[in-house]
Structures are given as structure tokens and as C-alpha cells.
Symmetry: C2
């Protein structure tokens, strides 16, 4: 199977001029099939504030009311996405921006209200990759904004990590998928305060052991659970690393495999 690299980058990286420039450069040098999934939360918060809309967060998750849905649709689907696309085109990478509604790529349902009403937030129910695969074959690199739709005309805000892992799992039938989560730290750390304490390799058995021993901090567990879910669904490799290491082969951060 052909290799497909899916890179997920958070808002901080794509929203600062210098780190964005480096990301565009690094991503454009990745050879073969590739997809970029981006966030944009900080820009959304900043634009919302300028529009007089308050950003409400619960446990780090955004509450998306109707006004905030318009903001994230503008900022994720428009501002951040199109700036990345234009930047990649300038590097000779034939990028094309999409959200989950485009070509019906990612369908979701509005999250049911339990203790918390997250508002217009979508939980993924279906991923359609047929047109994406056709475009990948033509050398197009999709750039995906973290928005989905419910198939009934409603756009929904969806976590970018989830978008990346859902795409990875759906495409694992057709490609050897390498999923790379970029963030500010050098990888999964054994000491959250020491950026040099990177755990370089984690497999299923080690993950259980580290969780039991408390080696991995609480905050990383959802990300790692997500990663192992992807591996269990056929994704070849998950890498969690600093965006600076995207194209460095001797500093890969944390590599996760089933065994």
C-alpha cells in the first residue's frame, strides 16, 4: 500500500507567522500523499472577542452557540484554511482546503446534551473518502478545517484531533497511514515539566503499564486513547511530536505502535 501522511497541527502553530511559515515549508517537503488537519481556536477566540462574543470553555472544550458557530465557520473554514492553502501553493504544494461538509467528507450528529450543552458540536458518524482519494491520486494535498455537517444543512464544530484520527482510520483501508500529531511539546513526556523527558516509543502493553504506574499525565490520556483507537483500526503508526520535528528523522518525538 502507498504511504499517506496525515499531519494534525494545533491553532498555536498555524496562527503565528513564524511557526506557520516553518510548518508550510516542512509540510510541503513531505513526499507522497499527505493531508493537513488544522485547528484555529486562538484566532476564533480573538475574532469572537472583537465581535463582542464571549468564548465559553468547559474543561478546555469550546461551547459553540449559534454566534460562535458562525465565528468558527469563518475562522476555521475561511481565514486559517485559505491562508494555509495559499501558503502551501506558494511552496509548490497543490493544496486544497475542505471542511467536513465539502464533498460530504465527514458527517456528524449534534452532541446530545447531558450535563453540559456543548451547543453546535458534532460527533463524527461517517467518513467518506472517495473524492479525497481521487484528489490524492492527482497529487492534491487536502487541508482540512475542523468543521463537519449533519447532512441536514447544519455545520458543526468538531475537534481537530478527532477529525485527524477519523480520517486516518477511514483511509487506512487504502493507504499505510502515518498520523502525526504536532503540538508544543517534544512528545509524550514522563515528566511534564521536562521537555527532554520524551518517551520515544509506546506500544499497547507499555501504554497499559505506564497508565498503571502513573508515568503518563492525565492530560495526555485522551490523546493517547485516541491514538491507540486509530492503531487498533488499521493506522500503521501514530507520532506525537513538536511541530519543529515534522521533517527530522532523528527526533521523532513519541512513536506509537500496536506492538
Amino acid at each position: 500500500m502507498d504511504k499517506l501522511t496525515i499531519v494534525k497541527v494545533g491553532g498555536k502553530i498555524v496562527e503565528e507567522e513564524l511557526s506557520l511559515a516553518q510548518l508550510l515549508n516542512d509540510f510541503s517537503t513531505i513526499s507522497g500523499n499527505k493531508i493537513l488537519v488544522h485547528g484555529g481556536g486562538r484566532s476564533a477566540t480573538a475574532i469572537a472577542a472583537r465581535l463582542g462574543i464571549e468564548s465559553k470553555m468547559v474543561d478546555g472544550r469550546r461551547i459553540t452557540d449559534k454566534e460562535m458557530l458562525e465565528v468558527v465557520t469563518m475562522v476555521y473554514g475561511g481565514l486559517v484554511n485559505k491562508q494555509i492553502v495559499a501558503g502551501l501553493q506558494a511552496k509548490g504544494c497543490n493544496a486544497s482546503g475542505f471542511c467536513g461538509a465539502d464533498m460530504d467528507i465527514i458527517r456528524s450528529v449534534k452532541r446530545p446534551v447531558k450535563e453540559i450543552d456543548y451547543g453546535f458540536v458534532g460527533d463524527v458518524i461517517d467518513v467518506n473518502t472517495s473524492e479525497l482519494r481521487l484528489l490524492l491520486e492527482q497529487g492534491v494535498s487536502p487541508v482540512i478545517a475542523p468543521l463537519t455537517h449533519n447532512g441536514k444543512g447544519m455545520l458543526l464544530n468538531t475537534n481537530a484531533d478527532t477529525i485527524a484520527s477519523e480520517l486516518a482510520m477511514a483511509l487506512a483501508k487504502y493507504f499505510s497511514v502515518h498520523l502525526i500529531y504536532c503540538f508544543e511539546k517534544n512528545g509524550v513526556l514522563s515528566n511534564p515539566d521536562d521537555d527532554n523527558s520524551v518517551i520515544h516509543y509506546i506500544d499497547s502493553a507499555l501504554y497499559q503499564q505506564y497508565k498503571t504506574e502513573g508515568v503518563i499525565s492525565e492530560g495526555m490520556i485522551p490523546k493517547l486513547d485516541n491514538a491507540f483507537r486509530a492503531l487498533n483500526s488499521g493506522v500503521a503508526e501514530v507520532q506525537i511530536t513538536n511541530a519543529n520535528n515534522l521533517t527530522r528523522h532523528n527526533a521523532r518525538g513519541t512513536v506509537l505502535k500496536l506492538s
Copy 2:
């Protein structure tokens, strides 16, 4: 050659809930290959005002400074485009949103400063339809936001009428292109104050005659010049009509042909 319908709709139609709903309905019922090109100027002006950014217009054309470029990127590329896409998906139309930077569809140069500095406004220099044609073949209906790029990382604001005619001309090599400009009036009027004074048919000879006789008002001339330029470049038919007539075969507004 297969038929391709390209519909251009202005801001007013896509920015009001009722007219947007009708447009989505009508566009989704057009059979065969189709592309929707949209504006969004009123929303951009409204969002800009809420952000404390003043909209500057000269002769009805927007001056696009750096801040306004961010607004139109958000509003055209994000808010308006993705709402149309989600709405069409709900009607069973497999829409996908693009701007000119995506897949390098439309390349432009920043308009040279003469008497007026329009700012980040792009004049089209190249249209690339190869991936668009592939998607049309798959039954995808592209929805195009009026933004282009210069290939060096800069997004540029570009008139939606121009985007529609440039796409029509570039695609006329491969399709029998029917280009439909929707606006608020019923067609080209012989009396601008009487919406029933539609001129139903104009060919090149009649156009010259009507211009000489002053039958056609000043304001329509750029639109009609644009239409005849498209016809002279191989576009099969141009129609100028009210959006309400999009799917009515007995009320087509003004139909323009070479002869």
C-alpha cells in the same frame, strides 16, 4: 459536448435566509454538471463594521486593505461558502467549496495602482480546471468563493462576475457552457424602472445597436461587455436573470448569444 451550467449569484441572494433557501433548492434541481459562484459583499461589510473596520468603496468597488482582506477571506471563503455547501448537501447535491487558491484554480496579480489603489484585489491571469473537471465527472458541484491567489502566498479579492466568466471561458473547451448571472432584476431592462421591460434576447449586432441607441443603461454595460467577451471565447450562452427564474423555462430573463 456535455452541458455545464455555471450560476453566479450576488451577495443579496445568498445572505438572506429565504432567498438562499430558494437558491439552494433551485440550484440542486439543475441537472448535469454545475458550478455555483457566489458573492458575499453585504456580509463582509456587516462583519467588518462589527470588527470596527470601515468598508471603503469607489464606484461600487471595494477597496481591500490588509484587514479587509482578512474579512473577505473569512466571510467569502468560510461563512458564506460553507453555509451554501452544507445547504446543498442537505438537498442531495454533492457540493464542495473552493476559492481560487484551492488546487490553484485561479491565479491573479495584485491590481496595479493607477488613479485608485484597490489594495489586495486580484486581476485574473490563469485558470486551471483539471481537478475541477475530474470532480465534475464524479458528480461534485463546485461552489466558488470570489478569492484568488498570486501563487506567492497572497490571497486576493476578485469580483465574482469575473470569476464566473473566467471559469466559463476556461471550461468552454470541454463543455457546452451556459453561464447564468442572477441578480435582483428580471433581466436586462429597456426601462431601468420597469421590471417588466425585459429585453429577452440580445446578440452581438443587437448589442451594438442598443448601445448606440442608448437602450441599455450605463450600469449594465460592464456586465454585458463581460458576457460578450465570454461568448466570444466559446461560451455557448449567457443568461442574465432574476434568481427566481433560475429553474423556470418560460421566464429566462435576458438570453445573450453571439448571433
